[in-house]
């Protein structure tokens, strides 16, 4: 991995399956975009040379408008759309026996996390999850719109008043991951962050029983 990609908040330094599939998508798109940009720049520069032979109008329309304007973009976009829809389907929180369910409530300026397996237990600003297992986070808000985002693990999902949005995250390995609230919410927004602690199996059991690891 390129060293410039590392960072506790980096989407291109994935630590979970969702973030990884999205990062791959990004690199594929970047390469494609760079190639298309290069092609367009070449096509822009070349006509400045003096040329004597030119195509007729019908041929020009066929090449530029039909070929490059219609067929070329539609082919690429169809492939890209298919890729994007497939990835989107893979990220959906489908039913699974192995899932851990937690709740995340955003409020200016703290996140309160609850754990379905341990009703009544809450933690502030630090979400505990088991590593290597899918976790469904039910995201809610007590006041304005917030957004739950742990860049190294998955994309973000908003906390909308009156709704509970479920985001599936998973950490490959135990560790601590940085999270951010990613919807502007007023004067304390820049410091509105949280952490995610992923435990190994033993540590997770210990957490559920109420012991500090």
């Amino acid at each position: 991995m390129l060293s410039g990609c590392e960072g506790v908040l980096s989407t291109v330094d994935p630590a979970g399956p969702a973030a990884r599939i999205i990062a791959t998508l990004w690199w594929v798109m970047l390469i494609g975009a760079a190639a298309i940009f290069g092609l367009v720049m070449v096509l822009l520069v070349l006509p400045f040379r003096a040329r004597s032979v030119r195509d007729g109008e019908v041929m020009q329309v066929r090449v530029w408008i039909v070929g490059l304007g219609l067929i070329f973009p539609m082919a690429i976009l169809a492939a890209l759309l298919a890729y994007g829809l497939i990835v989107g389907e893979r990220l959906l929180p489908r039913a699974d026996a192995d899932i851990v369910s937690v709740g995340a409530q955003g409020r200016r300026w703290a996140w309160t996390f609850t754990y379905d397996e341990v009703p009544g237990r809450t933690t502030q600003n630090n979400l505990h999850i088991p590593a290597g297992r899918p976790v469904d986070v039910a995201i809610t808000t007590a006041d304005v719109i917030h957004s739950f985002w742990v860049p190294r693990l998955a994309g973000k999902l908003d906390a909308i008043p009156g709704r509970s949005n479920v985001l599936r995250i998973e950490a490959d390995a135990p560790g601590t991951y940085q999270g951010l609230s990613a919807e502007f919410s007023g004067a304390g927004y820049d410091r509105f962050t949280f952490t995610v602690t992923a435990h190994d199996a033993a540590g997770w059991q210990a957490f559920l029983k109420g012991q500090q690891p």
């Binding site: 169809a78 829809l85 989107g88 389907e89 959906l92 929180p93 489908r94």
Partner: protein, 106 residues
């Protein structure tokens, strides 16, 4: 003015169909219609049916735009309105394809 309408009609019908099917999906998901009000039809079938209907409307528009009797007298308007007619059809097929291939209500 009818020439202007000929140019605008197919994309306008696409926009109406697109918004309606998006809304239809929203209503289905908000009220768990499957097996209820629509007499037991699966949500997927309802959505695909609406999709098919939207495509048929666009095909009908293209037929009208190409017909000798109803088409414009101006060659330019014929060209542009037929082009936007195809835009309507392609846009309908492309933008509403998810009713066939994606998970609904999740």
């Amino acid at each position: 003015m009818t020439d202007i309408l000929r140019i605008l009609i197919a994309p306008l019908v696409w926009l109406a169909a697109f918004s309606s099917i998006y809304g239809l999906h929203g209503i289905i998901c908000a009220h768990d219609v499957a097996g209820g009000t629509f007499g037991g039809a699966q949500p997927r079938a309802i959505l695909v049916g609406a999709y098919g209907f939207a495509i048929l409307m666009q095909v009908a528009l293209i037929i009208v735009l190409y017909s000798q009797r109803l088409t414009s007298r101006s060659g330019f308007v014929r060209f542009v309105s037929r082009a936007t007619g195809w835009v309507g059809l392609v846009a309908t097929v492309w933008s509403l394809l998810p009713v066939v291939v994606t998970t609904y209500c999740l």
